[in-house]
């Protein structure tokens, strides 16, 4: 897996590099260059295979469900890019060693640089489109961190975020495009995709796929209209700019287009989208570059323009154009990287990048000046330099592009125009910076030559420019050929890599470009004045404005929707339920096949009272006490209904729960205002009335339809097995403690948790009760009236006895742990109410936490007992004991379980209510006088 190693190495280096940060900048620079060197060593032996147009593919299966595999591929194209990334990367590392200041976070810098390098290598070496996608987004993320390296600078942060948004966003589009391609081809492996070119172009989804992929490529390669992020990324340290914006990041989009050239290129749509975008970008970049006073700004825009040039070439769709594009990629990388570094040196030595300040540096740094001038000349396309060669090819292609009629003129004219601008801004770079008078108030004066080694990378690159310019065939011929054959899928046209093609039209165009460019530079002031009439728009500001606009809108919308009103949320909930339920119920017939049964008078009366009190509770809801009394009546009649309809257990449970609940609500009313203010519009009330009405009618209808339709359930089983299987005749109780004992276990857990929650919730909170009750009467000063005290005390033992009885008979007759527990709890509560908690606490000296915990313990033990005999949890067993006097009676293990229920209920209920009773510090409300003192 040597190729995957090439990709992996930089990441490993990124982990290792920071460890050398302590050892100084040299050490870490050396450490960081190791991965690249190793990678080069790994790639070198593979050249032989590639030379004769072969490719190396290595695959490791990873996520077959997705079609993602760790498969890597080395062919001419990927090799060319890999070399650019690695070699220029090495130079950058050396350069950065001197560029960064010791106090800066060097470790972080190199780590991120290496991560970025790894991601780039991943892009160019991936043989699986999804895998490439992974690295693609990784470059967006790592470049985000690199651009924002000086994150204390606002411009750096904003530039970085803009770059991330544009390139990352484009990446998402690309993802969609790739997925579509995968759908069409049925595989994400590059071999399959490249082979399926015709199939893709014929497919109905092709237009979408192409558009999405190109979106990804254009955003990454800063093509119009996404070009604006690139210049703002210049906030990065110069080594980063030199790396990202000459050789790597921005070339990724170009690479993608070249990579998928056989699969996507050659259609009308491709031609128009790509060439047009390229042309516009070419012109805009070149034009703006001329007017940038910032050295890096000029270079950035020229980069945009050159990327446009390459895109345009790729768009043309002819083999020769593609070759030219590849050739220009190499050339641009070399001269632009060196120019960025030179600019960095100047910045480093003068403390400024403003060409209105830095002039005449020739006197101070002739060496750097020479290097920069050669590189700039190459950028301008001066003969005998590499820039010239690819530009000639470009001109030739622009001419040979056979468009109908007048359109045929557009490409050559655009090309020449761009050439003129290129010459002009190159001329400015040379003349303005190194000549043109003396420096004007530089921050650092006088500037010096940089450290010796800082210039080495620049020198190497400039030498490369010259070499390629003089001996193209000899220097890059083979590599270019390999790349071309990989891009074009084999059929490489015969192209002449010669310095001299004789006097021909392209040469004329270059010549024209020169004259025009120099003239334009000479009269630059006029152009500047003209340009200054237009207000410069700062895309960063625009982007920020857009984001904050988005944030504001989003916030407003959120506040509108999520307005924190329970009434709305509850309404939404109820309405959704009603709506979804009404749809299916619409066609239901109200009276089922069983028909109705007559009703007897007492039941009718009871029902009438129940219904009346229900409505009364609503009607007089604002007088809370009265409505509470009504509520209690409702509760009472509900329990009567249970009794009437042969559910004695329910009746007893309901009534005992009722008592506690009402006590609880009474306590609550003691603190809450006893009147509800009238609020809410009539509309709101009517709305709620309608909703409630529909819900009520719906439930009534459902009930009626249900009650009158035939029914058979699994319950006969319970009735059969209750006695023989569960050992009890009270089927309900047997179900609770045996058949469905697990429900009950959950139920008492709920009770216990609720009590704990209540206790925890009230901890440390105090609530003063109002001085008077709702009707303005002062509270009685005697908190514990003698009568009540005297009467309640004898009640306790009685109640306890009753509860024991209820508990024991539970298994066979109505009753059981829960009801018994509530009775005990109520009995104790009465003591609290009558004699106050100090008195009671003194006598009932237990911590209710422990009681309820004990209850859960008993329930669990009763359940777990059966595990010993390898019977499942909660399996009950029972036997009959004969006792003197008492006689024969039954002991069921379920009784232990029920005991657990009993204890939990007692503990939970008391814990909850007693901690509520403690809510007022004094245990009694303020008297009027106290109230007066309060206010």
């Amino acid at each position: 897996m040597t190729l995957s190693l090439v990709v992996l190495l930089p990441f490993l280096g990124a982990i290792a590099a920071p460890l050398f940060a302590q050892a100084g900048r040299t050490a870490i620079a050396i450490a960081s260059s190791v991965p690249a060197l190793l990678a080069l060593a790994t790639l070198f032996p593979m050249w032989s295979t590639l030379a004769e147009g072969g490719t190396v593919v290595q695959t490791l299966e990873w996520l077959p469900q997705l079609g993602i595999n760790l498969s890597f591929r080395l062919d001419g194209l990927s090799l060319m890019f890999a070399l650019l990334i690695l070699v220029i990367g090495l130079l950058i590392i050396l350069y950065a060693r001197y560029y960064l200041k010791p106090q800066e976070n060097v470790g972080k810098f190199y780590a991120m640089l290496l991560c970025f390098k790894g991601s780039m290598l991943g892009i160019v070496l991936s043989s699986n489109l999804l895998l490439m996608m992974v690295f693609w987004e990784l470059t967006s993320l790592t470049s985000f961190l690199l651009i924002s390296f000086w994150n204390q600078k606002q411009d750096a942060r904003r530039g970085a975020r803009m770059a991330l948004a544009i390139t990352g966003g484009g990446g998402l589009a690309l993802l969609a495009g790739i997925l579509l391609i995968g759908r069409i081809v049925g595989s994400f492996e590059l071999d399959d995709v490249l082979a399926a070119g015709d199939q893709i172009k014929a497919h109905a989804l092709y237009p979408y796929a192409l558009t999405l992929v190109l979106l990804g490529a254009f955003t990454k390669s800063a093509q119009f209209p996404f070009h604006f992020w690139l210049p703002h990324a210049m906030q990065a340290p110069t080594p980063v700019s030199a790396y990202l914006h000459s050789a790597t990041m921005v070339k990724a989009g170009i690479f993608l287009m070249a990579r998928l050239y056989p699969a996507l290129a050659g259609t009308e749509q491709w031609f128009y989208m790509v060439t047009f975008t390229g042309m516009v970008t070419l012109l805009i970049g070149a034009y703006v570059a001329l007017f940038k006073h910032d050295l890096k700004g000029l270079l950035a825009h020229s980069t945009v323009s050159h990327l446009g040039l390459i895109t345009l070439l790729l768009g043309m769709g002819t083999e020769l154009a593609a070759v030219a594009a590849l050739f220009h990629i190499i050339n641009h990388a070399t001269f632009k990287a060196s120019l960025f570094m030179a600019a960095g040196i100047i910045d480093h030595e003068t403390g400024s990048r403003d060409m209105r300040q830095i002039n005449g540096l020739w006197k101070y740094m002739p060496h750097t000046a020479t290097l920069a001038m050669v590189a700039a000349a190459s950028m301008a396309g001066v003969p005998l330099l590499n820039g010239f060669l690819s530009k000639e090819m470009f001109f030739a292609e622009a001419l040979s592009l056979n468009l109908p009629g007048i359109w045929a003129w557009i490409p050559p004219i655009v090309a020449t125009l761009a050439g003129i601008f290129a010459v002009a801004y190159s001329a400015r770079f040379i003349h303005d910076v190194f000549f043109n008078g003396a420096p004007r108030n530089l921050p650092i004066f006088p500037p010096h030559e940089p450290p010796r080694y800082m210039k080495i990378p620049v020198e190497i690159l400039v030498v490369a420019c010259v070499l390629v310019g003089l001996f193209p065939a000899f220097s890059v011929g083979p590599l270019l050929y390999a790349a071309a054959s990989a891009t074009l899928g084999g059929q490489v046209p015969d192209y002449g890599l010669a310095v001299w093609h004789g006097f021909n039209l392209p040469l004329m165009m270059s010549f024209a470009a020169f004259i025009g460019g120099l003239v334009m530079y000479h009269y630059r002031q006029k152009f500047f004045d003209f340009h200054d009439r237009f207000r410069e728009i700062d895309e960063k500001a625009v982007f920020e404005a857009a984001v904050s606009w988005l944030v504001d809108r989003a916030r407003t919308l959120t506040v509108v929707l999520e307005n924190g009103s329970l009434q709305r949320y509850a309404m939404l909930l109820v309405v959704s339920a009603v709506v979804v339920a009404i749809v299916p119920l619409a066609g239901m017939n109200l009276i089922g096949s069983n028909g109705l049964t007559p009703i007897d008078a007492p039941t009718a009366v009871g029902a009438a009272i129940l219904i009346f009190c229900t409505f009364a509770t609503v009607y007089i809801r604002r007088e809370r006490l009265t409505s509470l009394i009504m509520l209690s009546v409702v509760g009472l009649f509900v329990s009567l209904t249970f009794a009437r309809l042969s559910a004695p257990d329910l009746a007893m449970t309901q009534i005992s729960v009722e008592v506690v609940t009402i006590v609880l609500l009474m306590l609550a009313l003691f603190y809450l205002p006893s009147w509800t203010p009238s609020e809410g519009s009539t509309a709101r009330h009517t709305r709620d009335l309608v909703i409630a009405g529909v819900a009520g009618l719906g439930m009534a209808a459902v009930t009626l339809a249900m009650l009158t339709s035939p029914f058979s359930s699994i319950s006969d089983y319970f009735i059969e097995h209750s006695k023989p299987g569960g050992g009890g005749t009270n089927v309900v109780n047997v179900i609770l403690v045996d058949f469905r004992g697990f429900d009950t276990l959950g139920e008492i857990t709920v009770l216990a948790i609720a009590a704990l929650g209540i206790y925890a919730m009230l901890r440390g909170r105090e609530l003063q009760a109002p001085p008077t009750d709702g009707l303005g009467h002062p509270w009685a000063l005697d908190a514990h009236p003698t009568m009540l005290r005297q009467m309640s005390r004898p009640l306790l033992p009685l109640a306890l006895m009753v509860s024991v009885y209820i508990f024991l008979r539970g298994h066979n007759l109505p009753g059981g742990g829960f009801i018994a527990g509530l009775i005990t709890a109520i009995a104790l509560l009465i003591q609290y109410i009558a004699s106050g908690d100090n008195w009671t606490q003194a006598r009932v000296n237990v911590r209710y936490h422990n009681i309820l915990a004990l209850g859960l313990f008993f329930a669990t033990v009763a359940g777990a007992g059966s595990l010993v005999f390898d019977y499942p949890f909660l399996t009950s067993t029972f036997t009959y004991l004969k006792w003197p006097v008492v006689g024969k009676f039954e002991v069921a293990s379920a009784l232990v379980f029920d005991l657990g229920v009993y204890l939990t209920v007692v503990g939970a209920t008391l814990l909850a209510l007693v901690s509520l009773g403690k809510l007022t510090p004094a245990g009694r409300p303020m008297t009027r006088t106290e109230a007066r003192e309060e206010s």
């Binding site: 996520l63 077959p64 993602i68 992974v134 987004e137 606002q154 942060r157 975020r161 948004a165 990352g168 966003g169 998402l172 589009a173 969609a176 997925l179 989003a554 916030r555 407003t556 959120t558 506040v559 929707l561 999520e562 924190g564 329970l566 949320y569 909930l573 109820v574 959704s576 979804v580 339920a581 299916p584 239901m588 459902v702 249900m706 339709s709 699994i714 319950s715 089983y717 045996d738 058949f739 469905r740 697990f742 429900d743 276990l745 959950g746 709920v750 948790i753 609720a754 929650g757 925890a760 919730m761 309820l852 669990t860 595990l867 390898d870 019977y871 499942p872 949890f873 399996t875 009950s876």
Partner: protein
């Protein structure tokens, strides 16, 4: 019968009441007990995961009463996965709670464990009414946990949460009643068998019941239009609780998946895929709303809370594609998002603890200490949550997008997912660069030290995102198998023939 099935329920139950017993014992003892409990829980959960991976259904009949009469637990791949995800999440949240959170109240550890108990009952039970009980257990515990902690800001969101869920519980009972009144049974498998055989004129009640049930689950899952209780509640909860709640919405999702593949699955005759046509559009809208909330949020906690909303939308959208690939990808995404969102809640809490009065607000503040570790954690979490490579979110989203079949649905799903990804990228990068980079002069009074429980608890959950990527292959194989298992309802209903202890195996 394999007694391991009750371990995830009984362990926290015992741990829970032990906590109550020792409620006034020294904190160290309570902590040790608590962590031991969650540790054991994780072990048992892992064991069950291994057990379930053979693709068979295991039944545990309480009281040795054969289904449908007694209550049964049913272990299959889905429930095992849920239990495991929860157990792992629970352990790290519990670890994180040591220190700042758990000193607040003596009930914290007990409530926390009961919460886990409730969750596990919900994931394992095979009985519709018992599912209700499970919901109540986990809800009442969550009420307690949500209101846990000092300060008054939790009270009102808590009250909303409680009231809405009480209404929900009432609806749950109504739905169960409607279904029982026709089918006469509560056991899910038995329901799955009975419902296709129902007579025409019995359908309306069951259908209505099924739809109301869907509303109840949608409330738990915070699906639009029942989303709005979530952001404030989660944002105001203490960090470990909020992190644990990352799985609370997933309970709703689980219930939907379980009930609407088994009881109202494709074999349910007239009631097949009941209500699913509502879910898909609502899920997409939920994602959109969630993203809007993320962008608009002025605090990191709120940001993550909305992230939870987005992920719920994503899961349900994938599920309602109603194909195996969709279901599988939904589960994969759920595993990822549960852990990552939880991790983000914890990281955000650490951030807040570093920034003094600025807390978690997305505003300029003095440069915070301990920036490196926390910012890296935040970045990883954000990348994972936004669904960027190379972390788990990216692969989860790929799986989901792959599951869509060409058509309008695919176009809608893809554009919403990609747009949501882009917007959350903007939201996170904005929040991160403001909080970590945009500093003013001044110093922060007593920033919190990075403690072991905090760094490990938060770090581990974020790191799980990387772990998911590493084991992406096996994990998606597991979810594929789960989806396949869920589609085959006849296998599930075969539990009705399960032998009880003492019956001869003839």
């Amino acid at each position: 019968m394999n007694h391991w099935l009750i371990a995830p329920i009984v362990i926290p139950l015992i741990g829970g009441f032990l906590q109550v017993f020792v409620g006034y014992a020294p904190l160290s003892l309570r902590r040790t007990l608590g962590l031991v409990t969650t540790g054991l829980l994780l072990v048992s959960a892992f064991f069950l995961l291994m057990l379930a991976d053979d693709g068979s259904y295991r039944v545990y009949a309480f009281g040795n009463w054969a289904p449908p009469f007694g209550i049964v637990l049913v272990l299959d791949r889905l429930s095992a996965l849920m239990v495991f995800v929860t157990a792992l999440l629970g352990l790290f949240c519990h670890l994180y709670s040591l220190g700042r959170t758990d000193v607040g109240s003596r009930q914290f550890h007990a409530l926390f464990l009961f919460q886990l108990m409730g969750l596990n009952i919900a994931f394992l039970t095979g009985d519709l009414f018992n599912l209700f009980v499970a919901f109540e257990v986990l809800l009442i515990a969550s009420y307690g946990l949500l209101l846990h902690g000092d300060g008054t800001k939790r009270t009102v969101p808590g009250f909303h949460y409680v009231v809405l869920n009480l209404i929900g519980s009432a609806m749950f009972l109504i739905a169960v009643g409607m279904i029982y009144s026709v089918t006469g049974t509560l056991n899910m498998a038995d329901l799955a068998v009975t419902i296709p055989t129902l007579a025409e004129d019995n359908l309306p009640l069951v259908k209505a019941g099924g739809m109301i049930l869907l509303v109840v689950f949608a409330l738990k899952a915070a699906l639009l239009p029942l989303t709005f209780w979530l952001p404030k509640a989660y944002a105001s909860a203490t960090a470990p609780v909020a992190a644990l709640f990352a799985v609370m919405t997933k309970v709703g999702v689980y219930a939907i998946i379980r009930v609407y593949t088994l009881i109202f699955g494709e074999d349910a005759g007239a009631l097949a895929h009941l209500g699913m046509d509502w879910v898909f559009p609502l899920a997409l809208l939920t994602m959109v709303l969630g993203v809007v909330g993320m962008i608009g949020s002025g605090g990191l906690r709120t940001l993550v809370a909305w992230q939870v909303v987005v992920s719920v939308g994503t899961i349900l959208a994938a599920f309602s594609l109603l194909n195996e690939a969709g279901l599988s990808s939904a589960l994969f995404y759920m595993v990822h998002t549960t852990w990552v969102a939880a991790g983000l809640f914890l990281v955000v809490d650490m951030i807040a603890a570093q920034r003094g009065s600025a807390g978690d607000q997305i505003i300029t503040a003095p440069r915070m200490p301990n920036r490196t570790f926390i910012s890296v954690m935040f970045m990883l979490g954000a990348v994972a949550a936004a669904g960027l490579p190379p972390l788990s979110g990216f692969f989860a989203k790929l799986l989901i997008m792959n599951a869509a079949t060409p058509g309008v649905d695919m176009a809608a799903l893809w554009s919403v997912i990609l747009l949501a990804g882009f917007m959350s990228l903007v939201a996170y990068s904005r929040a991160g660069s403001i909080v970590f980079w945009r500093n003013v002069q001044g110093h922060i009074e007593n920033p919190e030290k990075l403690t072991f429980p905090h760094t490990v608890g938060a770090g581990a959950l974020i790191a799980l995102s990387i772990a998911i990527v590493v084991v992406a292959g096996p994990l998606s194989e597991y979810t594929d198998a789960t989806a396949e298992q869920l589609r085959d309802t006849s296998a599930y209903t075969s539990i009705l023939e399960a032998k009880m202890v003492g019956e001869d195996e003839s």
